[in-house]
Symmetry: C2
Subunit: 337 residues, 2 copies
Amino acid sequence: MRIALDAMGGDDAPRSTVQGAVEAAQAGFHILLVGDEAVLREEVSLLGGLPPNVHIHHAPDVVEMEDAPSRSLRRKKDSSLRVAFELASGGQADAVVTMGNTGAALAIGMFVAGRMEGILRPAIAGLIPHEERPVVLLDVGATVDCKPEHLHQFAVMGTALSRTAFGIENPEVAILANGTEQEKGTEVTRETAARLSEDPTLSFVGYIEPDGLIEGRSSVVVTDGWTGNLFIKTAEAAVAHVTKALGDAARANVLAKTGALLLKPSLSKNLSHLDGSVAAGGLLLGIEACALIGHGGSEPPAIANTLCFAARLAEARLLDALRLGLNDPSSGTVQLP
Amino acid sequence: MRIALDAMGGDDAPRSTVQGAVEAAQAGFHILLVGDEAVLREEVSLLGGLPPNVHIHHAPDVVEMEDAPSRSLRRKKDSSLRVAFELASGGQADAVVTMGNTGAALAIGMFVAGRMEGILRPAIAGLIPHEERPVVLLDVGATVDCKPEHLHQFAVMGTALSRTAFGIENPEVAILANGTEQEKGTEVTRETAARLSEDPTLSFVGYIEPDGLIEGRSSVVVTDGWTGNLFIKTAEAAVAHVTKALGDAARANVLAKTGALLLKPSLSKNLSHLDGSVAAGGLLLGIEACALIGHGGSEPPAIANTLCFAARLAEARLLDALRLGLNDPSSGTVQLP
């Protein structure tokens, strides 16, 4: 396996990406560090060299976090992000990993790799952390406005991903809604529910509310990119709010400081599944490339994890699994000639 | 002030509601306990009687949490919830408080009290807890599918509520979105943004993301009832997830137990604003009654707080403030003859 890493994407890139690549290299697969060669060489020299399975691939431009997707696509034709996708499209890499600009990754991925045949809209699958295994939530931001047929394809792709990535044979699929009763939801979710319940390739279980999603009561949850994106941002903000209050409380006085020290080991264990270094980021689904997008603030261990996860997905032939799901003749979705 | 309390609504009603009413009675206003008289008398006898400003008003039926709104409206014409609204409509009460079924309260409130003149759609305003003062978020569940003109009215009503309830002269109004840049959002939020920025009666500040809302960066946040309801449910579920992990960690072993005991006082202080007993629930806006809906699981102190908040809003003439906001000739919204 050869993974192309956008070495210039991420808050602390290229330091964090180079270190993450070196950590991941222990797993044995090849990593292509894509970015400005001179900058990367300097970073590498600080680390005392690269393992033999990590290689530098030159790309002079950098897509910044604040760059609009269209601008990144039109103006930065030699960006590390774009070249990483070109390596995948050209067969020189089996997967792409970036900690950079999500919108730009989507636009460039769609343009360079192209849409998967039969796919109506792309989706970003978020992996919602859970004690046992992550829940696949899609879409978390690629397609804001979704029709039932789009959500149906997301369910099929989410099922293929859950099967490939986590080995769940028949993952339960739910639709995110404001209640579990059939009459809840919107016109779009109700029509989607009707479609999913008629698709024999899916294990559709109905609506799920945010608490059920967070508690991992279903393996795959489908929603439009607006709702999914706000779900992620709300959950992250709420968790950050409580953990900040906890941190402030732990620093309030000597008693609290002592208490926090005693409590920390067991609390860290209980919250470890919420830690970014354990969970991988999101996946671009519906394009002709296996592409993972991590958090901009990812530290080297999280980047290494994402690289290993990408290698595992590429090795398990995620793209083939997605194509197969979309082409299953017993599925009500797209059927290619 | 006379507040009609749906004494049969809530997980632990009528015990919790009667106790809550007795607590709130110390503030001096009148409370009408609406419910089955025999049941309420029994509950009251356990408490050794009622203060002179708490009165029982008989209503034999009970709307259950699982009753569909339409059924509650058609089949339970003598429900405590409905009679409470009838007292308000008939001028015998200045506000209605319930800890019961939100959907039923909305349906019954709309039917009994009627829509406020000029109002296109009702909204439920949620009060999002914050250290300084709650953020008014609307709609959190009354109108799932909203047009820009509905959201514009929500902004006007939210402004009137923020002014009346929290004394903020020119509350900043934002639209909940998936990013703060103008090009983010949906067609509906972008059109709403254009309308709000042209309304001289509003202090419109643009889009806000979930973290900004949770951090209280704006006083009023408007969104459709789908997004607002999922925001509330997601934030609650995420907070519950972390606090459960914290509780489990605190019970894990002797060291952790000791640590938790030492940390607890300062943590409780830091998280007190998230406590249901401090925050009031939601408000029904757009109907001809001042009506508050609390959490079903509210304990007596939270119910007492909600009653006091209702009395304060009624005394400050919330309905007049709402009508004034909607009729302001400089506002781009409804103008009555």
